[in-house]
Amino acid sequence: MTNHWNDLQHTDCALIIGANPAENHPISFRWLTKAKENGGKIVSVDPRYTRTSAQADVYAPLRSGTDIPFIGGMINYALENNLIHKEYVANYTNAAFIVKEGFDFNDGLFSGYDEDTRTYDKTKWAIETTEDGKPVKDATLTHPRSVFQLMKKHYSRYDIKTVTAVTGTPKEDYLKVCETFCATGKVGKAGTILYAMGTTQHTVGSQNVRIYAMLQLLLGNIGLPGGGINAMRGESNVQGSTDFGLLFDNLTGYLGAPKATVPEHATLKGFLEKETPVTGYWSNKPKFVVSLLKAWYGKNATKDNEFGYQFLPKGNKNYSHINLFNAMYKGELDGTFLFGTNPVVGGPNAGKEKEALGKLKWLVAIDLWETETSAFWQKEAGSNPAEINTEVFLLPASASFEKEGSVSNSSRWMQYRWKAIDSRGEARPDLDVIHELALKLKKLYTGSTKSADKPFLALDWNYGSGDEPDIDLVCKEINGYDLKTGKLIAGFGALLDDGTTSSGNWIYSGFYPEEGKNFAKRRDNKDTGNANYLNWSFAWPANRRILYNRASADPSGRPWSKEKEVIHWDAAQKLWVGNDVPDFKPIVSPTEPGGANPFIMNKDGVSLLFAPTLNDGPFPEHYEPFESPVPNAFSNQQLNPAVVIIEGDFNKKGTKKNFPIVATTYRVSEHWQSGSMTRNQEWLSELAGHMFVELSEELAKEKGIKNKDKIIISSARGKIKAYAMVTKRFKPYNVNGKKVHQIGMPWHFGFKGFATGDTANRLTPHIGDANTMIPEYKAFLCDIRRAD
């Protein structure tokens, strides 16, 4: 989130798309309700009329997988009706930049496409620069190759008629959304966009988020209270676990990871030169990388050995979830650790993921429960135990209140959890298990002189002498030290690239600035101004609550409006001041170089309406999902041309002939993710006890299905049984004059726990987004029929 939960109360309009917070983030809704009481509007855009829709001022349905047309049309509407915040756009985005000659867009393809590799040569999307490397600009935004004009041209194709024919949204509903949300382009108003997995779990997921951000920039809504682009996280610490680098392609704090396929990455010097931009805040990257290496390799990280850079693994491919299971399926993996995760229910094409587990030699699962995944070898799972030779180690884990530590919510607030009680039975905190495993491994490798064992032996692992690790030492290592004095570092501004500082995660540096002061533990809930609660917990980075808040003021440093003030330039004090920590160097005046550039993480200090960095194009463009019942109305490119397609048995593809119905998955309030945490509890199991599939009255009539009938849902990957829930919340779409049905189902169920049921993900495909490889769970094809 750029903003935070409490800040939602300040919005004039919340556009909720690809998310259903009333059910999935229920307590967030009290702040949206408050916004309504303050006169704000709620707009809900969803394939299904949800409980969020029921609370909205405006509801508009869209067919799953058509966010880009929906928002692209809003961009066109805002431009055509002159509703954008022009001064913001001209100064704070790259709208004025000139794109190099040769850039082109033709029939769904941008310039630089290679059909054989399904990749783009991104150098074909470059910005024109002056001799000293600065972007060439046209402040009037009229140059035909300016980003502004190219964008205008691109989205002129997204007219209301074409858009609604693709999304299936009734025209009057669509216009109401455009009107209501684009009204926040006015100075003094702020709109927020709230999204979740309904946005990201598509083959165009990254571009879905991108186009939301573009609309927000055009309306001048980023950096303001009640504004921003806000991802609602589904797990208590999925923010933190991402921040801490539990994804193959990122070390902690989004520092990237060295690759064997990039020749420059062979050395630390080459890696830093290649990956560090000359300008913008990321120009400090070497300080963060070297400080991380010092945190990990301690005294074994010296100037002479590139601070231990060579100890880090260098991958040569994409190791993300789908590819991981494909490798496992092919027998390329021997062992796997699972820390509180249940892919046999939660993974895409889950039947294949279950089969893949049987190819492992060993599997370690640490969990509170026996899950469908740790039990994949059992008869209940449809397996024959005698044929499965995987050794399985199932370790009992402590619950969140049986241990201490911090979690980071969607607002980036790092809140501490104290230990309330000893762990149930022999359960142990994951921290202890990871620590003891590391110590046992260290012992096994002790004395080895093999070069292959050097990297692990060099890993610094000192968390006290007791059986359990001293969590305080872990916290302090994350924050970082001045290694010359041995004192804790006050924040990432003090980190250096010469090996004299350490920090395990630079973006968190400053949460523990002195002995005894772990700011995650702060509980002062006095409102410090505009509900930012600066003394409650700690928000990364630097305790900042609203990111890009420099953009809440005009280039001269005055707030665009009194109503939406965050920080302003105080000429007397020569300081940026306000009710939040400035997202800016506090002493740089508006007239100094860079003083009017709020997007400090980008090399030119402005935000990117044109982003030559993504794999599938500098502007979001509509492509149909991997499985779709209709041709793409915008071009002859049916599917995102940059997605990786895994062919064959691992990912069978369904056709509209056999599977004419669009399907999506969703969640209910009473269950959480794969259900292992909630289906193993009595009350929640009783509240939501059965797997069901929701369908429209029209589809039910066509198929002769009545409410509560047992039905079979099938896709190219598998079939499942569920109860039919016939409602008015789904309606057939009119897509280019053709009737298209959509159904939806919860993905929480499996065969373990009190509440059991078939697993929705037996139906979903193994295809991912072109940038992130996030699976396309939210739009696939199926068919349904009565079970009897």
């Binding site: 070390l251 509180g340 050794e391 009992p396 209140f401 809140q415 096994l444 890993l459 994350i478 193993n680």
Partner: protein, 190 residues
């Protein structure tokens, strides 16, 4: 552990950065009168510990009441500015994470080809896991690839971690990358 005679809200406000666990003997209202004729109020003399909900990313505060080595009650933390004491259905039932009969309480092992779990002790489990990890790492380790130092194993994967604490995710990432694991993924992807 501290024991004080002050009400919960006062205490939690005062507690600041210190560990916030104490026995609550007064709940800000006179429970003695209300329950004078019934058995002792269930959460009188319970220990109250603030926590953050383990489910979605909102981060609601919850108070966990413990007594006689069990969780007797949970409620929304009125001092947490995000939820101000309110909770959803999942947050409300947090207690059952402790009390559910389905909780795993012992390490379990399944041998190749076996159709059942066997109870094992922690030491045996972690020793064996460490051995398996070392064997796989040693037999699959690649130190140089195309002339570039790569120090990796591509035959071990680690998945999950979105429900772990920050400190745990930090150690997990450090250990796995330290071993050379490249298949490192978690729920942010799915």
């Amino acid at each position: 552990m501290v024991e004080m005679n002050l009400n919960r809200r006062q205490f939690l406000k005062l507690s600041g950065a210190t560990a916030a666990t104490l026995a609550v003997v007064e709940l800000g209202f006179n429970e003695k009168k209300a329950y004078a004729k019934s058995k002792e109020f269930k959460i009188a003399k319970a220990t109250v510990t603030p926590t953050i909900c383990c489910y979605c990313g909102v981060g609601c505060g919850i108070l966990v009441h413990t007594k006689n080595n069990t969780v007797v009650y949970t409620e929304g933390d009125p001092d947490n500015p995000i939820n101000e004491g309110k909770l959803c259905s999942k947050g409300t039932t947090l207690r059952q994470l402790y009390t559910s009969e389905k909780r795993l309480t012992k390490p379990l092992y399944r041998a190749p080809g076996s159709s059942k779990w066997e109870v094992k002790d922690w030491d045996w489990m972690l020793d064996t896991i460490a051995k398996r990890t070392k064997d796989t790492r040693d037999s699959s380790f690649v130190d140089v690839e195309n002339g570039i130092t790569v120090n990796k194993t591509e035959r071990i994967a680690s998945l999950g971690g979105a429900a772990l604490d920050n400190e745990e995710t930090y150690l997990l990432a450090k250990l796995m990358r330290g071993l050379g694991v490249t298949y490192l993924e978690h729920q942010a992807r799915i």
